[in-house]
Symmetry: C2
Subunit: 191 residues, 2 copies
């Protein structure tokens, strides 16, 4: 619709994401990306005006979804049911398409991504999401539990080593553990 390219832009994104995730953003050079695609660096610069614009293009769609999610949550009452629905929706969007890999890339390159606008935006959205997850209980323990809930969804991809496990099972387990953590938010007594 908007490009006459035969998917070259998408192929660049796919290869870049793979290399960024595998070797890190800084360590992956444009030459490496171009070589793997069988094109030249100049070809890359036709589609993206800089290296970090590739990251931006990768993250943009994810950012939109997170914004929708945060806006939705802000409109709900701060109850356990809302928190559970929020993490469930988040998991749904995490386990779709290549977004898990985008999140893995983001999580394992946080320091470097601090200097990129796209990285700062992702960071900001994660913090706001965590904030929504413990709305009504700003105690330190609640904040920690909220953060762990998000991490549970992310890490179910690599922390769980089981032969033949399906994506749906990973998601189910992540949500099970997340629900237990969320249930403790709002119980203001500690200990």
């Amino acid at each position: 619709m908007r490009e006459t390219t035969g998917g070259t832009r998408q192929r660049i994104q796919a290869v870049a994401l793979e290399l960024f995730t595998e070797h890190g953003y800084e360590k992956t050079s444009l030459r490496e990306i171009a070589e793997r695609l069988g094109v030249t660096k100049a070809a890359l610069y036709y589609h993206f005006k800089s290296k970090d614009e590739i990251v931006t293009s990768l993250v943009d769609d994810r950012l939109r979804r997170m914004d929708e999610l945060i806006a939705w949550a802000a409109d709900q009452p701060p109850t356990l049911a809302t928190r559970r629905a929020l993490i469930s929706r988040y998991a749904d969007s995490m386990f779709a398409g290549d977004l898990p890999q985008v999140m893995r890339f983001f999580e394992q390159n946080q320091t470097v991504l601090k200097s990129l606008v796209a990285g700062q935006q992702m960071r900001n959205r994660m913090m706001r999401l965590a904030h929504e997850l413990c709305r009504g209980d700003e105690s330190p323990a609640a904040q920690l539990r909220a953060a762990l809930t998000l991490f549970a969804v992310h890490s179910s991809w690599f922390a769980v080593r089981a032969p033949g496990i399906t994506d749906d099972e990973r998601k189910r387990i992540a949500l099970q553990v997340a629900d237990e953590l969320l249930a403790k938010i709002g119980e203001n007594g500690q200990g």
Copy 2:
């Protein structure tokens, strides 16, 4: 004892760790480290024979402590009491000296550190530690809970935003949440 230097080696380590953590390993140049110390790059090469040897020197002491911890755990019975003692000891060593910063550096630069021996070793120790934390219950949920337990200790440093909170309080909260997660390991019925 082994160096006649007036702590230059230590000063290099301190500045390198700070910059690696702040900007990332790849993005931090030796020139930058040398400049901040008021010496030249060549001076760095007198103390460390390469850039990644600085990382090695930073991680070595941490690796030793983790090895001790893993060996200790392997000698204990696989009970809840052992798991709790293990995470408590881990937290103690985490909250001492500049080790928290080393762990933060490690966690936020994982992808890049994969290509460094020191990084692979740290990764290996973390996995073994997680394994010890769920020994006797290798179910996916248990694996996830064990990983989250470690992350609870690490993330209590940045996930909890509270004015004037002390290190001891952070540790206490991390262990409280960790204990709850560990208590669910070994209950083989899954809700």
